[in-house]
């Protein structure tokens, strides 16, 4: 904003939300409306003091607020801190009509309002098949069995004595962006890409536990993970993935896992779709064949145009999305903007992110913020001056294997429009002259 020009006491403050009339003005292409509104409001304040204030400057500066003139709250007013009261808009949300019952459903993380690469624990997306539980950790057990020399039981006490590691990784549901295979069907990045989160996890490497039980190195080619909840969800992991970077984690972002994310124990399967990150983990089995579980045979299967179902499509391929500006937002005025977003790859590190403002005709390479870690979200930023004309913003990530994030038309040419899972297409946000940003598909 331009406070010097916009000074004056204004109700309602246009710097907050746009009301219906203002939106109409915006949509009619009058994008100078904000300035107009300020001037009109300022003129309407007839009182001499107000006039003086208007000339002298911004009342947010000139009139000392209460917090500068009084005593604030003491320590431990809240034993566990909470976000500011002004941040209530950023919440996990369900997508209407997507699922029918709340205990077998998903809530999406508000990517449009998040910064950096770490997802705050309370905003991590949720996916439950049979509701969530808050399990007493002193009664939780992990069993490792199957093709091992010694089947073992571990308490949380036991696990926390073992050599621990801390790693940052993204988790993405295989069905993230599923609603967009055919058409644009949801308005904001929360609903297009919000089944995505990234945290620092602490736990013990799966390899440590498998070693401890003496797993069969020759024939034990697969690992089953099973949850302790009602669904006792099961998923098969390849032994190679399990030994490489698989983890049994109890902590997330420096504290214990949240119940919705599997407290007190979950599997971390870097690069692999979220359903494999079994929550409330109770059992690990070593075997010589995959298990063909419900979420490997009936769901999380990708339907090809000829009716064939691809099973065991696990890896989340390279993908990116601009989180701001993004669908459902309005640009305040023409001029400078920081375009920012997230990039990730289930096959390793992100190498580069390019951004286009003209629907893919011309691209510029964005700045990548550190850290750039394997199978972890990577934040990108790029300068952009909006000239007030129509624009289509896109980002395109390239990972260290050289794979370039595809266009939706390329994905559809191979997989059709009905495969539900693994849509990693380039996302387009259309910026109208009015400043309104909408979800659009080009290509």
């Amino acid at each position: 904003m331009k406070p010097s020009r916009a000074a004056g006491r204004l109700t309602p403050a246009p710097e907050n939300f746009l009301d219906a009339g203002q939106i109409a003005a915006v949509q009619a292409g009058r994008r100078e409306f904000l300035r107009g509104a300020f001037l009109a409001a300022a003129a309407a304040i007839a009182a001499p003091e107000a006039e003086a204030a208007t000339q002298a400057g911004d009342p947010a500066i000139l009139e000392l607020p209460e917090h500068s003139r009084g005593l604030g709250q003491p320590v431990v007013a809240r034993g566990y801190g909470l976000p500011s009261q002004f941040e209530k808009n950023l919440q996990r949300r369900e997508s209407p009509g997507l699922t029918r019952v709340g205990a077998a459903s998903v809530s999406f993380a508000p990517l449009q309002g998040l910064f950096g690469i770490i997802t705050p624990s309370g905003l991590h997306f949720e996916r439950h098949h049979q509701g969530w539980w808050d399990i007493d950790p002193s009664r939780h057990r992990l069993m490792v069995m199957g093709m091992v020399r010694q089947a073992k039981v571990y308490t949380m006490d036991d696990l926390m004595r073992l050599p621990a590691v801390s790693r940052m990784h993204f988790i993405e549901c295989g069905a993230n962006t599923a609603m967009e295979w055919g058409n644009v069907s949801v308005p904001t990045v929360q609903y297009t890409h919000g089944m995505l989160s990234c945290c620092e996890f602490t736990g013990v490497k799966l390899a440590t536990l498998l070693d401890d039980c003496g797993f069969d190195r020759r024939n034990g080619r697969f690992v089953l993970a099973e949850g302790a909840d009602g669904s006792s969800l099961t998923r098969t992991l390849s032994m190679e993935r399990a030994l490489d970077d698989g983890m049994v984690a109890w902590a997330m972002n420096g504290e214990m896992l949240r119940p919705e994310n599997g407290y007190p124990l979950r599997l971390v399967a870097p690069g692999i779709q979220g359903v494999s990150w079994v929550k409330w983990l109770r059992r690990i089995e070593v075997g010589d064949q995959p298990w063909g579980t419900k979420d490997e045979v009936v769901h999380y299967v990708d339907l090809m145009p000829d009716g064939t179902l691809r099973q065991y499509t696990s890896i989340q391929e390279c993908k990116s999305v601009i989180t701001s500006p993004s669908g459902g937002q309005f640009l305040l005025d023409k001029g400078f903007y920081n375009v920012t977003g997230l990039a990730w790859s289930g096959r390793g590190r992100v190498k580069r992110v390019d951004v286009s403002a003209d629907g893919g005709r011309n691209w510029r390479t964005a700045r990548i913020e550190s850290p750039v870690l394997p199978k972890c979200l990577t934040r990108f930023n790029i300068d952009w001056v909006w000239d007030g004309g129509p624009a289509i913003l896109q980002s395109r990530a390239i990972d260290e294997t050289g794979y370039v994030q595809p266009k939706i038309s390329q994905l559809r040419a191979v997989r059709g429009k009905r495969s539900i899972y693994h849509n990693n297409a380039i996302q387009s946000w259309k910026v109208a002259e009015s400043g309104e940003v909408s979800n659009a598909q080009v290509y």
Partner: protein, 341 residues
Amino acid sequence: MLRSISRAWVPAFAAMALALAGASAALAGPYPGVGRSATPAEIAAWDIDVRPDFKGLPPGSGSVTQGRKVWDDKCASCHGTFGESNEVFTPLVGGTTAEDLRTGRVKSLVSADVARTTMMKLSSISTLWDYVRRAMPWNAPKSLSTDEVYAAVAYLLNLGDIVADDFVLSDANIAEVQARLPNRNGMTRDHGMWDVRGKPDVANVACMKDCAVEVNVSSIFPESAKGAFGDIAQQNRGVGATRSGRGDKAAPALAVAKASSMDDVASRGGCLACHSIDKRVVGPAFKDVAAKYRGEPGSEAKLVEKVLNGGGGAWGSIPMPPNPALAESDAHALVRWVLGL
């Protein structure tokens, strides 16, 4: 095996391991004193998975007739009498033909407008058996006996015209059923998304300048659908580079994750499997229940009785099953809460 333990410690561990040799198998690994061996009974209690090669399948049997009874008592309230209901989930059966049984490939998977049922996708019968045993009924998982699982699976196979009315499914003949599954040949693992080094199936190139693209907006979020997602303005921060519009008042703000304590009781009591506060699920919306009985004398006692013992007829053809695990005091509290909504 000792690779993650610092070298200086190794001799101490070695000495300890020697001293403990033969004492307990659990102490003999690379991390002495951590964990213990699992007992056979513990392994049996948790090792419930059944693989496509039938490893893990317990002996037993169940007929289609028995399965119909299990189904009517324990499954139909959510899935419909014939597994056809899509109120809770996509239908379990339907969409397969006699021709599919022969070829082992479900033809209707090719067409765009067919709801994909469980039976259409199922390539291994073990998957269905394993899942019903571990997870169904949804609100009382792992409560079925082994024979009831066989029976329920037999009934679903019968609904799918895969086995006859007089069929008895057992561990001895389940492999024959496998050989008849309509989509037994309909899957593939030939793709690059299992192996981290697998070959991708699309190859984009990173063109940078004057790229040949037709910039046509082929699809855009429809104005008419905006209201369905609640007030988008309330889903963005009030400061920053962008704002969002507040205009369209179409729908009330979406219910965001909220957990009042009674919600919690209702959730733990299993009520929310079938009810929600403001929409019909399997049972009526709790708000509708409140509206219907508001001010009616004796309604609380009547509803408590119904919640505990089940019953139907007030809201449609689906009855509410009994909720025997619920404490009477909780039933009172829940009904009072529902009526106050």
